[in-house]
């Protein structure tokens, strides 16, 4: 099973690399869809059907909104002007990669190999099915044991809607 996950991850890496270097904005947004839908298949391979359903519909809504934003602003991007600044950026990225890899090496001493990790609370939550009474364990955790996080998420969604409506407003009401 691990080999299928590696294939999907390699596909997502290629899709994201092409999406950041495309010459046209429409091609960039459509290649961004590769990453999103590859994530859906990865979630199904990791035995998480709840998350696959949520991810596929949210990815479709995101793609529709992005295409509607860029559809009448077609512009190709002009080429990078200075080669020197590009070299500086690549050097910074290389140093960042080395630092990240060293940190990861230190952390991975305490990270179990892929597929053999069991947190301490997992057994407590899987035995909680008789306490909440719901057959879907993930829903029991989201709405039963950790309901405060769901309340916070609803608040964040509400705030984002108010923020979008405020940013796009023209001048205030005249007169009155």
């Amino acid at each position: 099973m691990e080999i299928y996950l590696i294939i999907m991850l390699v596909l997502m890496i290629f899709g994201s690399l092409y999406s950041l270097h495309a010459k046209d904005l429409l091609s960039a947004v459509i290649s961004y869809g590769i990453v999103g839908f590859g994530l859906v298949i990865s979630f199904l391979l990791l035995q998480a059907p709840d998350l696959a359903i949520v991810q596929v519909v949210i990815e479709i809504v995101t793609l529709v909104i992005m295409i509607a934003v860029i559809k009448d602003t077609t512009e190709k991007e002009d080429k990078q002007t200075a080669r020197f600044s590009q070299f500086i950026y690549l050097l910074v990225l290389l140093l960042f990669t080395i630092a990240f890899y060293l940190a990861f090496d230190k952390i991975s001493g305490s990270l179990s190999p892929f597929g053999q990790h069991a947190t301490r609370m997992a057994t407590a939550y899987t035995q909680g099915v008789h306490e909440t009474g719901s057959a879907n364990l993930v829903t029991g955790v989201v709405f039963g044991f950790r309901a405060y996080d769901t309340l916070g998420e609803a608040t964040v969604l509400f705030t984002a809607v108010i923020g979008v409506l405020t940013i796009l407003r023209l001048k205030g009401k005249k007169g009155e």
Partner: protein, 146 residues
């Protein structure tokens, strides 16, 4: 914004209620099968998005009568807090979100206390929020005057 041809409009008239019904099914059975409030809410919103994208020219009516969505969204998030408050008052232990309706047999539709109620409330709120975001970013792109 321009709409689509008449074939697309008639097919949308058949399909969009079925999509809305599927969204309601996923919300209601959220405690037995994968899904729940968030997934069902976004599916219900996509039925509305389909209608808006298909009938383009009739959207001028939307610019005047759009006050239904904000009541739905505000009422849903207020209802969430009120149900949590009921859990505070009506239960023996003084805990905010306690499950005070009795839990039935695991696996039946009427089980799991107040989790189906919370699923319905969150589904309504997510549907209204995503439809509002879509209308504000796609239809009203130039002037939002409310």
């Amino acid at each position: 914004m321009k709409g689509m041809t008449i074939i697309v409009r008639k097919v949308t008239q058949f399909i969009a209620p079925i999509i809305f019904l599927f969204g309601i099914y996923i919300v209601f059975y959220g405690h037995l099968t994968p899904g729940g409030g968030f997934a069902g809410g976004v599916i219900m919103a996509s039925a509305f998005i389909l209608q808006i994208l298909a009938n383009g020219e009739i959207l001028d009516k939307l610019r005047k009568e759009e006050s239904g969505l904000e009541f739905l969204e505000s009422g849903a998030i207020l209802g969430f807090i009120i149900i949590a408050g009921f859990g505070l008052i009506l239960s023996s232990s003084f805990v905010f979100f306690s499950n005070f309706i009795n839990k039935g047999v695991i696996g039946k539709l009427l089980s799991a206390g107040m989790i189906p109620l919370e699923n319905i409330i969150v589904g309504t709120e997510v549907c209204a929020a995503i439809t509002t975001i879509f209308i504000a970013l796609v239809v009203y792109k130039d002037e939002v005057a409310l």
